[in-house]
């Protein structure tokens, strides 16, 4: 294997993006195997500590996706997610974690093609950025410290 195969975790909401990714399947649109989906009830549920956990466990890239603004199944969960993302992003900048490794997007249940496109673009982008080990190293160090 010559090419670097990034590990990408997608955190998606059940009502829009999960269903949108189902549509990608039903429409038989192909995308890279690197993207693996974890289902949440709503993007509002996604605690961004989970994103750090994913990096700590060796993820090279992350996708967070939910319903378009105003389409949230729970009225406002995606707005909370968006607000959280804005704060989180500046925090990442401050910590020196590469923000480009997280793709935040809206994919509706009708946007099967868009999901495939986002998945492929993210894989390509992360492939260019290369493996992400910085945060995993920190995490290993922290784990050791915790044991002591």
């Amino acid at each position: 294997m010559s090419e670097f195969e990034p590990k990408i975790v997608a955190f998606v909401c059940n009502w829009c993006t999960y269903a949108g990714a189902d549509l990608t399947g039903t429409s038989r649109i192909k995308y890279a195997q690197n993207v693996k989906i974890i289902r949440f009830p709503c993007t509002g549920r996604i605690d961004f500590m989970l994103l750090l956990k994913a990096f700590a466990e060796g993820a090279d890239g992350i996708i967070v996706s939910g319903c378009h603004p105003n389409d949230c199944h729970y009225t406002s969960g995606n707005f909370h997610a968006r607000r959280r993302w804005i704060t989180f992003r500046s925090l990442l900048d401050f910590l020196g974690i590469d923000v480009r490794r997280i793709q935040f997007s809206w994919v509706s249940a009708a946007e099967g093609a868009k999901w495939a496109e986002i998945a492929n673009t993210t894989v390509n982008n992360i492939r260019e950025l290369g493996p992400y080990t910085d945060y995993a190293k920190v995490a290993v160090h922290l784990k050791k410290e915790a044991k002591v």
Binding site: V9, N14, D22, A32, P41, C42, R84
Partner: protein, 667 residues
Amino acid sequence: MSRIGVFICHCGENISATVDVVKVAEEAGKHEGVAYSTDYKYMCSEPGQTIIKQMIKEKGLTGVVVAACSPRMHEPTFRKACSEAGLNPYMCEMANLREHCSWVHDKSDATTKKAIDLVRMLVEKVKFNKPLYPIKVPVTKTALVIGGGIAGIQASLDIANSGHKVVLIEKDPSIGGHMSQLSETFPTLDCSQCILTPRMVEVAQHPNITLMTYSELEKLDGFIGNFKATIRKKAKSIDEKLCTGCGLCTTKCPTKKIPSEFNAGLGFRTAIYVPFPQAVPNKPVIDKENCRYYQQGKCKVCEKVCPTGAIRFNQEDELIEIEVGAVVVATGFNVMEPSEFPEYGYGKYKDVITGLQFERLASASGPTLGEIRRPSDGKIPKKIVFIACAGSRDPAKGIPYCSKICCMYTAKHAMLYQHKVHDGKSYIFYMDIRAGGKNYEEFTRRAIVEDEVNYIRGRVSKVYEENGKLIVKGVDTLLNARPVEIEADMVVLASAAVANPGSEELAQRMHISYDAYNFFSEAHPKLKPVETNTAGIFLAGACQAPKDIPETVSQASGAAAKVAILFSQDELSREPVVAVVNRSAPPVYSTCVGCFMCATACPYQAIGEELITDRKGNVIKKVAKVNPGLCQGCGTCVAFCRSKSIDIQGYSNEQMYTEVMALLNDE
């Protein structure tokens, strides 16, 4: 120790064509905690489900992972199968190998590896699944209907006829709404009052309906099946039990020059008044703002003439609390004040009127007893101009939407005019004729062909008065696009339908959402047109968007059916995917610190307070508590919680972190 069964589905060849299912089953079998793993051609088929059930019993499985299609498709199927075999249904999870793997990737080792990863992720999640049980909430089988127009009337009658109690509240002194103001209705030209008033009477006499007029919703608490509504019953200043509705007071009242709301300002009423002769209930109320006694302290003529002594000047507003299980919001619409159109001269020239005013002129019960006469001098107009889209479809006036009913009622107005004024000429300035609906297109055709109404496609730029005539300057955009000038005797504006004033506050009081124009929002534009985002609150009629009578009535019946479905159960069973605040032994009781950030995040007002007390009743701690009846399970509170004290069942922190870790640890 977990004993998990993994069942890999081939889905015919849908999965097995690109994923090596045998290998996935093999790998899953090696995983810690997996007691059994297998693959089968169709897991969802009867024999497939039998394998799962058998293995649950034989191997004593504590959890099940079915790797097949999307859980959005078959999760209920497999959960049901598990529960039939005696395993709690919430101990079953699905790995999506079809939509998220086999269908979107080519056959390769990488695809099989992804399948293995997905199965491992769910196996690890199931280890942290807990048995859950549906949440039961009781149902109060009384419905509250807000608004006594045709929507509220229809919804009330339907619910009442299905055998349930209804409380119908109406802010005005009589029910009937806008429909009672209409002269005739399109496309049949049958008289509005004739079809409406029998229903109004039926509402008043129905044993299952409690009618409360002159009443408004003050507060709404609670949740589906268990609402608590506070209703402000405004003081009518009469004793309804004693009043016989003889009307003597209304004839003797000295304040006679109050513009009548029912006649859209074209006629007058007294301070003690019945809005219109067919009002239900047919008993007067005193309009305090215009009553001489209330304003100046002297008069009491009505009290002197009342033969039954029913006048009560000292009556005060009453706050009544009722318990209801469902709410139907049917508060209707309003017409835009056309004074926002200085170019049409409304308010400046008496003979420029609104469509609703024209309805009153054309109505047999109206101020002119059905004759079309000019408000200024009472003469019969020989030339009349109707301006459609007065406000509607005009982003500059803040209303980009189509009011939907104006094309039809303007055609109706022109027809009524032609029927009443045989030598008259009518003109309609329009943008498009939108006549979608049963017999609607035929109706507008009839106006053009049979009644010779002149349709001019174009806008009006200005209306001004000259020598007692209203000069209407417009443009005809068809053919040679030329300017048009008409010397009219009267101009009728089809002003836009807008949300009722106060809709915003009402929506906030009920915790339902509303759109940019203050119309209430349905839960889903296609599939949930009568539900709101708050469970147990339904919408009927023009409070949701402008609509005509047949549509309003259908929606009202739809809302009533939803209420009847809700009331057909003694208790509601709800998915237990809800948030829960942790509780533990003293002295901690709960890790919740009572910051209530969760409550600010919750879109459903499902989070309240709980006071933890000692034996003497002293408060030790104040913590958050989730009302499982209101919680919809979005989990926004979980991500918000600073002390990680609130968690959502089925998507708990434990489960989600485990999923992340399992997915990435592929060694």
